[in-house]
Symmetry: C2
Subunit: 365 residues, 2 copies
């Protein structure tokens, strides 16, 4: 693909590098990869709600999950110049504490080597050894600058086990701020299964994926706002998956509930200098454009600004509906959303399709 | 207030009529009203998350909660011509089965009498005796036509105890469809407390109110969509509180997850004739404008259409911040949202401020 002046960059695109696949194959509870007789084909099960007969146990796992050449092929088919790849959920959240440091080093090194195979076309978000404890995590953050292609870190919502408002995480956020590494915040845990009701078995993966994921992201960031993280770590940069979950839509309500909360006022927890939810959206947050339509995307754009939106695909998830489809409906839908919201060839569209990612993530070597 | 050609109608405004207040005062667990010594002032506690010291135990309950004259005063201050009042959560969900029928009749009759005190200025959504079982509920729905001011019913998300996708609810939805009574869907139960994390005690009511409420609404409606309610009861009309929770923002993702779900496809659960989420938003759903800003409101308008948006205040909740404030910030914020999204004196603004409610709810006597 020829280089263009306004490159298309996919910042939400996952890989399970071979060493991670091996780890998953060796496990017998989620996350894991195995076959379910009588079928001999391998399936990837990563969510508790998927680990039942009613959902056909996860999804088939093919070369698009671990072969970097498949990523490049997918990029070429969809006109994507650069991908910022990240390990898919659930990352290393489940790794025993004493194996975390080595697992993260090994995966980050492997991903960096994969990027090196296609110079200029691949960059990556690193994975943190969260279960290893603060010192191990901070050491890995500092080590990342020795890798050529790392441009941030991917993070789930559990942090050290207590969520992202946990005061123990503050030094880690500061280390990321100091290293100028943005966090790509991605959901995995969804909501407690009870909220989906007794009929949930009839609905496939839809409820946990379509609602659980974005609600999890929204809750995690709102808890950070309420905990004062963005005052204490003022330059922390976060890229939120799925256009912020539901944060742009709920920002007004969150702000109103904060302003009207007698308890927060009485405790003096809403200082005069606090950042509003709108401030955080415009100063600390970037939003991907993985939202499958212009209705939500326009809200995301208005909430954070045209200079803070970044195209993404969620590859290799949401694969094409027909076996013969070369282009993926999910990708086309997200392209179409940007076109409807920002037009074609406008400065805003170019920024969302790649310009913002190139600028913010410094995508040149 | 003089009648105007484009009236302003508040469709999201609550009352606790005196008989309901008496019921709450007689209780010792939520929902309840009592004083907490050393203070002698009465407080209303309706949410589990509020029933702790950390939130000052609910909210003070004054005349604005039960005096209909206070509602009229509030309307006059804010330029509201007509209010469609509804019993506030948690309605009669908690009433013993054998008391439900009588409680609903008594409350609905009382609310109807309150409306009669100010002819043309007050209408109401009725309360259903949900714990009384199907026959009791359907009888009350049929009885509502004997009341002068009832224009729909308010409903929470539990239904008969199993949520709104419960097949047992289908005859009740059909009865409402046949009676041409829209459902005003309103949250109350939020999400399981575990999602708010260990620091939640520091955040007042913000997380359950700002996030739990709209997420509960979104989950309830999405479960109805997945269960096929809107195909089976095609003329069912629903007005969703808080601009649909987060449904307009997530509609694209829900639709994409449905289209990509191998299990749903394999089971033949996505028939060719199914309504998409977008269809449901434009054919069965109305959205209030209680969203405190134009970012979300614009998404709501685009999702359902300018002819399906209805102004609301959530009175008597979100009271003014200062003791001396005549106008309520929460109301001003929602007025401002409509002005920014739809302009002043435009057809769209007039429709959202009252025209849609007058047309859909037939607000004339």
């Amino acid at each position: 693909m020829a280089a263009t002046k306004s490159p298309i960059v996919d910042i939400h695109t996952h890989v399970y590098p071979p060493s991670y696949i091996s780890l998953l194959k060796s496990r017998s509870s989620i996350p894991y990869i195995r076959s379910f007789p009588p079928s001999s084909s391998l399936r990837l099960v990563i969510l508790p709600a998927e680990d039942t007969e009613s959902t056909s146990r996860g999804r088939p796992v093919g070369a698009e999950y671990y072969e970097i050449a498949e990523k490049i092929k997918f990029m070429d088919v969809h006109g994507i110049d650069i991908s910022v790849i990240s390990l898919a959920n659930p990352w290393l959240d489940w790794v025993p504490a004493d194996e975390a440091a080595e697992a993260a080093r090994s995966i980050n090194d492997e991903v960096d080597r994969e990027c090196a195979k296609y110079p200029g076309r691949l960059f990556a978000f690193a994975t943190l050894p969260l279960s290893g404890g603060r010192d191990v995590i901070v050491r890995e953050i500092e080590r990342l600058k020795t890798l050529t292609y790392m441009r941030g870190v991917i993070l789930g919502t559990t942090g050290l086990g207590k969520g992202l408002d946990d005061p123990e995480l503050r030094p880690i956020f500061k280390a990321l701020q100091d290293a100028q590494l943005p966090i790509f915040l991605h959901p995995h845990y969804g909501l407690p299964g009870s909220v989906w009701g007794e009929q949930a078995g009839d609905y496939g993966h839809v409820l946990p994926l379509a609602l659980g994921f974005p609600m999890e992201t929204t809750i995690a960031v709102t808890r950070m706002i309420l905990a004062g993280v963005f005052e204490e770590v003022p330059e922390l940069q976060m890229i939120l998956a799925h256009s912020g979950g539901t944060l742009p839509f709920l920002a007004g309500r969150i702000e109103s509930c904060m302003e009207h909360d007698g308890h927060l006022k009485a405790e003096g927890k809403l200082g005069k200098g606090r950042k509003t939810v709108w401030d955080v959206l415009k100063k600390n947050i970037y939003l991907d454009a993985v939202i499958y339509g212009d209705v939500g995307l326009k809200a995301a754009i208005q909430a954070s600004g045209e200079d803070r939106i970044m195209f993404g695909t969620d590859h290799p998830f949401f694969p094409p509906l027909g076996e013969e489809d070369e282009k993926w409906l999910s990708v086309e839908t997200n392209y179409e959303g940007i076109k409807k919201a920002l037009g074609t060839d406008t400065e805003g569209a170019k920024a969302a399709l790649g310009g913002n990612a190139v600028r913010v993530l410094n995508l040149s070597i």
